[in-house]
């Protein structure tokens, strides 16, 4: 699904982004339009869509069909799971986590947002900012997605009026800023007609900003290359024990944050022993420095007992080590989570036994109110939890590092992924607890 017509060396950046919005907002049409207008849909895929559309008696190809893959989704005309799409332009590669927007699929939105550099939130220009929009913004803020774009869709149905767009953009920006979202870009579009998705609109001269695709192509993708708070979770110990490498002992892992250099003093957690980096292998070749997202093998000066699950950090820059974790979680399993629940907690490359000590409050994403001490957490609930682990873990706040501030809870019995957790405070300014109104499931 690519349209790069060159054999240039690989210098194109990669942007992971997620979409949030419901079918009614035209989300599938927007995604279909992005793929179609960026020439990422190939002839046989388009033929399949035309065939399927005709088979249902639709007279124009339904671009939404490009994205709904499972039989149940096609039959019900809904999206029930995260789907990943791939497309490219001459300047950038894109991985899109396409997630459904209804309440009961909050877990999928959280999943898509967990690895996203940017989230596109879709609203219907006729309805403006609704509860669902606020929920999507809250998820983006909670997961600390660096960039948020607001796509105000169906502008053709409000006469392409600037005043409508401006009012929605202003309301959303105020709300998102309060949540601590650092950067918001609002774009008026018509996904159905293709206005401002890939091509600039002929109907909205008053808008001089980027189209959705232009914005995706130019938004900065940050790589954390600072030496501060560098973290290397050890995945695997490489010991060839061959005639050629009798004494080689390398600690393999993907740098989760910051950068490391040869000669640097490091501390191994949880043991607290210190040594220096004597070498860094970057997939078979020696380098002096390596930084976040690179998979490396680190060699140490001293022969220490280092194993999978340990964390290598710069000496003097170690995270707090604790057995009591306070976090915001999104419950992602169908079976509930209760106080006293015995679980496994996977953090980085370490999995330890843990117990849910307390669930102080449940958070309503609609108005950010908190309900104290819910009896249990059900699928898609967002809440504060306190967890006691069987062994001390070196943890960072999620606000500092998405990779070393996150964890999952696993059911020890059947291995189900129960809960996604973010260590530390939820938002910059947590709302005070208040009484909760019951929330319903569907929200058409």
């Amino acid at each position: 699904m690519t349209t790069i017509a060159s054999t240039e060396p690989l210098t194109t950046a990669l942007l992971r982004f997620a979409t949030a919005g419901s079918v009614d907002d035209g989300k599938s049409t927007l995604v279909g339009r992005l793929l179609h207008d960026s020439k990422s849909v190939l002839a046989d895929q388009m033929e399949a869509v035309e065939r399927a559309s005709a088979g249902r008696g639709q007279d124009t190809p339904d671009l939404a069909l490009l994205t709904d893959g499972l039989r149940a989704e096609r039959e019900q005309g809904i999206t029930i799971d995260v789907a990943y799409r791939y497309f490219a332009t001459p300047t950038r590669r894109f991985i899109l986590a396409d997630t459904p927007g209804h309440v009961q699929y909050t877990r999928n939105m959280v999943t898509g947002a967990s690895t996203a550099d940017l989230t596109v939130i879709l609203v219907d220009a006729r309805n403006g900012v609704v509860e669902q929009t606020r929920r999507h913004a809250a998820i983006a803020a909670l997961l600390r997605v660096p960039h948020v774009a607001l796509a105000v869709n169906k502008m053709d149905l409000v006469g392409h009026r600037e005043s409508v767009f401006a009012a929605i953009a202003e309301e959303f920006t105020a709300y998102a800023t309060d949540l601590g979202i650092p950067e918001i870009t609002a774009i008026p579009i018509s996904a159905l007609a293709g206005d401002n998705v890939v091509e600039p609109s002929a109907h909205m001269d008053w808008y001089s900003g980027p189209t959705v695709l232009e914005h995706l192509e130019t938004v900065p993708v940050a790589h954390d290359a600072s030496p501060r708070h560098a973290r290397l979770p050890v995945q695997y110990v490489i010991r060839p024990q061959t005639a050629e490498h009798p004494d080689y002992r390398g600690y393999a892992g993907q740098i989760a944050a910051g950068s490391f250099r040869v000669g640097e003093p490091v501390t191994i957690l949880p043991s607290g022993r210190t040594t220096r980096i004597s070498g860094i292998d970057l997939l078979g070749r020696p380098v002096d420095t390596a930084w976040s997202r690179q998979s490396v093998t680190v060699l140490l000066e001293d022969d220490l007992d280092v194993a999978r699950g340990d964390l290598i950090v710069p000496t003097g820059d170690a995270p707090a080590t604790t057995q009591d974790i306070e976090a915001t979680v999104c419950h992602v399993a169908d079976q509930p989570l209760t106080v006293g629940h015995r679980v496994l907690l996977k953090h980085g490359t370490r999995t330890v036994k843990a117990i849910v000590e307390d669930i102080p409050s449940r958070l309503s994403l609609d108005d950010l109110s908190q309900r104290p001490h819910p009896a249990r957490l059900d699928a898609n609930d967002i809440a504060r939890v306190r967890i006691r682990t069987a062994a001390p873990l070196p943890v960072d706040p999620y606000a500092t590092s998405r990779r070393t501030g996150s964890f999952i809870l696993i059911d020890p019995g059947d291995g189900t992924t129960l809960t996604a957790g973010m260590i530390g405070d939820s938002f910059t300014t947590p709302a005070p607890p208040q009484d909760e109104t019951p929330d319903d499931g569907w929200d058409f």
Partner: protein, 311 residues
Amino acid sequence: MTTATTRSGTTDHPCTLTHADVLESEAVHIFREVAGEFERPVILFSGGKDSIVMLHLALKAFAPAPVPFALLHVDTGHNFPEVLEYRDRVVAAHGLRLHVASVQDYIDRGVLKERPDGTRNPLQTLPLTEKIRTERFDAVFGGGRRDEEKARAKERVFSLRDQFSQWDPRRQRPELWQLYNGRHAPGEHVRVFPLSDWTELDVWQYIAREGIELPEIYFAHEREVFPRSGMWLPVGEWGGPQDGETVEKRRVRYRTVGDMSCTGAVDSDAMTLDQVIAEIAASRLTERGATRADDKLSEASMEDRKREGYF
């Protein structure tokens, strides 16, 4: 916190990773995660380009130590000789252990029946799943990519399969951040897809960047072929051509390599990697749309076969 940013493909910081670096690094992370968490992993190796790239990544992930996994080839009995020869050479060169699950064996024993259309691709599921069970493999690496097909777009990197190797889309676990969950009950296993986020073009450009050798059938060559179901199929002992199908000699190459009965060739003059990449970039058909007979069966054919334990 200082950060380096990238705009429009230009790098203004020495610490900027290319998208290929990122894909490579994530795939290596996946291989090492499996090595750390599973007892008996195995790599599905067909001799096709995706499995060749997988093996290359595994070699890099554990260098200078050997790859701590065996290989498993599901042999339909209709493989291209060039691919089998390549497979055996690679296994010998890296001192790997090769397991073969043979469709022909199952046909000879009467367990499986030859299909009227002669294609054996759908017959691979039983030999594969029985081999996984008897060898007690708990993690099985596959070269599947999410860009290949709509049902695969929803596939996880770690995909849980039950005792019967079945895939239940509703039982798949959410995958958050890079925290892969490999827990499984005895008898269950996990299919792992390190190339999930790669596209066809990514794979080819990586092959070019790394200088990876491929079987020759990926490049343009003269071959005796005949037309069937809108594809050029190779003449061979697998059952082609049949009456009324005319053989001609054409200059072709393979965009994807399954076995002879289900993989079509495309007309091509691309003799080098650069020419292949240019051809793919300009193609108006997907890899499978152009060349795979087995995916055309129905709108949900891949989904159905995945449920039964297909790759």
